[in-house]
């Protein structure tokens, strides 16, 4: 075996030949340029896969923008936003489009960052000058983008739940989900009135959503004269919450409340059972969305309740049809919190564009603001003066031995 003289594995000579104790694949000397080219090729392919494609609108189409998470830890809900909008786009176009023109939705990635969300909005607005845009279901991104929306003066719909968005008083922004305060209030009221909680323990994700919802819940308990056993938090990327669960039990909690996102919600459900903590457990909607339910067993769902935005009523033919086609097309179930409202919202906007045209964003904003009792797949939408479109949440539990959900109680937002 010949070895180049500069090879670092040189050992000695055998007759005329340089020999070495080295392995055949060490003969493979990849040049640096080859590697650099490879790295750039991979990067290009990845960027191409994540890109938003051709942007410009032709005369026979209406183009709107949607900024949702397409990479990073928020992709799970971002995919639901995107898939639901894609299905709505296909359905609208299959039924003749909007005013005879095809609808095209251009997506831009907000990742898990507020600045990326703002940049995505600005990019789409400058590239497309659309009459309308969708924003993500993350409140911090919605809050960060609000000034840009106000400046652009086009209506947008979003699904972040925080009251911080409505407090901005931006007349161009419309929420298509119930707000987090309503969900948090429903959790607390359900724990007291239905589960007879006397010393509930609250476990919440340590971010703006979790802290606000935990504070609302704590306040409702206080108003009802119930003293909480304790409050524990965990980081958005934490995987082991067993110490927090044990801590709440040790503090005397008789009911656990979890303010969670999907994956951590499923982890907590599993860890409660792993620890043999036999307490009723009430979760926010994240823990009961389809992606979270896929991660837990029916046994782990026993004695567990979820406050959902809604339970899709598949006895209605149109709901069953959309759910079935969604699952077939995207190989995942339609999420009632992060998927179905975007489908409904696109239908509302399509009707609005049909009625007021694409040249008058202010007229479209007024159209949306005046939507009353629109029966969608997920909710009945009525937009109020704060831009809130949904005013009810549902408490659900799994039927024994299954993951099939049934409604336990519905809460309506006070007038």
């Amino acid at each position: 075996m010949k070895v180049p003289s500069e090879c670092p594995e040189f050992v000695g000579k055998k007759g005329e030949e340089t020999v070495s104790r080295y392995w055949p694949w060490e003969e493979i000397h990849l040049t640096r340029w080859f590697t650099i080219s490879g790295v750039f090729a991979v990067t290009f392919l990845l960027l191409s896969a994540c890109g938003s494609g051709g942007q410009g609108a032709s005369e026979d189409e209406i183009v709107i923008g949607a900024t949702v998470p397409m990479t990073g830890p928020l992709t799970l809900s971002g995919d639901q936003n995107r898939y639901a909008l894609q299905l709505a786009q296909e359905d609208i176009n299959a039924n003749g489009g909007i005013d005879g023109k095809n609808l095209r939705i251009v997506f831009e990635d907000t990742q898990d960052s507020n600045s990326a969300a703002v940049n995505a909005f600005n990019k789409l607005y400058l590239d497309l000058e659309p009459p309308f845009m969708f924003l993500s279901s993350y409140s911090t991104q919605n809050v960060a983008t609000s000034p840009e929306v106000a400046q652009a003066e086009i209506p947008v719909m979003y699904a972040g739940g925080s009251l911080a968005v409505t407090e901005l008083d931006n007349p161009w922004m419309f929420r298509i989900r119930p707000n987090d305060a309503l969900s948090a209030e429903a959790m607390a009221v359900f724990a007291v009135e239905d589960l007879n909680a006397e010393h509930p323990g609250i476990l919440y994700i340590q971010n703006e959503f979790g802290q606000n919802a935990a504070n609302v819940t704590k306040e409702v308990f206080k108003q009802k004269g119930v003293e909480i056993a304790g409050m524990e938090s965990y980081g958005a990327e934490d995987k082991d919450m067993s110490a927090q669960i044990r801590s709440l039990r040790n503090q005397g909690a008789d009911v656990l409340l979890g303010i969670v996102y999907p994956t951590d919600g499923a982890l907590i459900t599993k860890q409660i059972k792993d620890l043999n903590v036999d307490l009723p457990y009430v979760m926010s909607s994240g823990g009961f969305v389809p992606a979270a339910l896929e991660l837990v067993t029916p046994e782990e769902l026993e004695n567990t309740y979820g406050v959902l935005d809604t339970l899709l009523d598949t006895s209605r033919s149109e709901v069953a049809d959309v759910s079935k086609r969604f699952e077939k097309r995207f190989d995942t179930a339609l999420d009632p919190s992060y998927g179905a409202p975007y489908y409904d919202a696109m239908m509302i906007v399509a009707k609005g564009l049909e009625e007021v045209g694409t040249d008058d964003p202010e007229a479209l904003r007024d159209y949306i603001a005046n939507v009353q009792n629109y029966q969608g797949i997920a909710h009945v939408y009525t937009f109020d003066k704060n831009g809130e479109g949904v005013h009810a949440v549902t408490v659900v539990k799994a039927k024994p031995g299954t993951k099939e959900l049934e409604s336990v109680r519905t809460f309506l937002q006070p007038e």
Binding site: V39, L46, T75, K239, A243, N250, P262, N276, T332
Partner: protein, 291 residues
């Protein structure tokens, strides 16, 4: 008392997970002097290979784990050949930046291949648990602790009692002198990356059923394991395990007796204290001793 013991058992189990990943940091550092910032993503790849074999291809546990580890072995070889080898004559900082770049590529590739949702691969010991004196043990957590101890012992014997392990440490100490002694640096590097990939593969297999396989699982895990490596002592196999258990216990006890809100702050404060007052960690060599 049972509560304290339960907290400590959970802390040790959690710490063993960090220790497994910390061992992968150590083996690469011992051979190459490089801190591999893609270690967390190596674990993620291992976890998803287990998902592909056991969940998607419906293989038996033994076959699925074997194929997963075989896949990780190939992954380690490829990483060495395509990433480390072309960069190895560059300054160490360039290689470290390279591993950071690779971590992003791996994460985004996994997103395209396996999707954004978490997956829960089954455990061969799922549902089995024991309650001894009021303390709850799941069979899987005992498996994690047992495998960590076995791997630590095996790695220790390999690094400090075998000829190849000696060569590995010699290359890390002084590659030039090792080369003049007839040691094949390329082979040592290849071996180090392969062992690191196998270790992270084992970590991925063990972690999937407990924490779910998730494309974003790598970074938070690697961050804690990195803290464990610093606290235990960079370059020390027993130190990595000790550091892992230390971090796991600090986390569990911190939540139970201080506040869950400050648990990460507590761990990283401890890490900074070690860097300030005992930079070599509990069992590691002093940094200035490395050539």
């Amino acid at each position: 008392m049972a509560q304290l013991v339960q907290t400590m058992v959970n802390g040790i189990s959690l710490g063993c997970v960090y220790a497994l990943v910390a061992l992968a940091f150590v083996i690469v550092y011992e051979a190459t002097g490089v801190v591999n910032f893609a270690t967390g993503q190596f674990v993620m790849v291992g976890a998803f290979l287990a998902v592909s074999t056991i969940v998607q291809a419906d293989m038996a546990f033994s076959t699925g784990y074997f194929v997963t580890l075989l896949g990780m072995l190939m992954f380690g070889l490829l990483f060495n050949m395509l990433i480390y080898r072309p960069l190895r004559k560059q300054p160490v900082i360039n290689i470290i930046i390279g591993t950071l770049f690779v971590s992003v590529i791996l994460q985004n590739s996994a997103l395209l291949i396996w999707g954004s949702g978490a997956v829960r691969p089954p455990s061969p010991l799922s549902g089995q648990e024991f309650i001894i004196a009021g303390v709850n043990f799941t069979a899987h957590s005992i498996l994690v602790i047992g495998v960590t101890v076995l791997l630590m012992a095996g790695l220790y014997l390999f690094l400090y009692r075998s000829s190849l392990g000696g060569q590995m440490r010699a290359v890390a100490q002084d590659p030039e002198a090792a080369r003049l002694m007839g040691i094949s640096a390329s082979r040592v590097f290849m071996l180090a990356w392969t062992i690191a990939a196998l270790l992270t593969g084992v970590a991925g297999i063990l972690l999937g059923p407990v924490w779910f396989a998730d494309v974003n699982m790598g970074d938070p895990l690697a961050l804690k394991a990195f803290a464990a490596t610093i606290i235990g002592g960079f370059g020390s196999v027993p130190g990595a395990v000790l550091g892992g258990v230390f971090v796991g216990l600090a986390e569990a006890l911190g939540i139970s007796y201080i506040s869950s809100a400050y648990k990460d702050a507590l761990i990283f404060m401890l890490m900074i204290l070690f860097l300030l007052f005992r930079p070599q960690g509990i069992l590691g060599e002093k940094i200035r001793e490395r050539a």
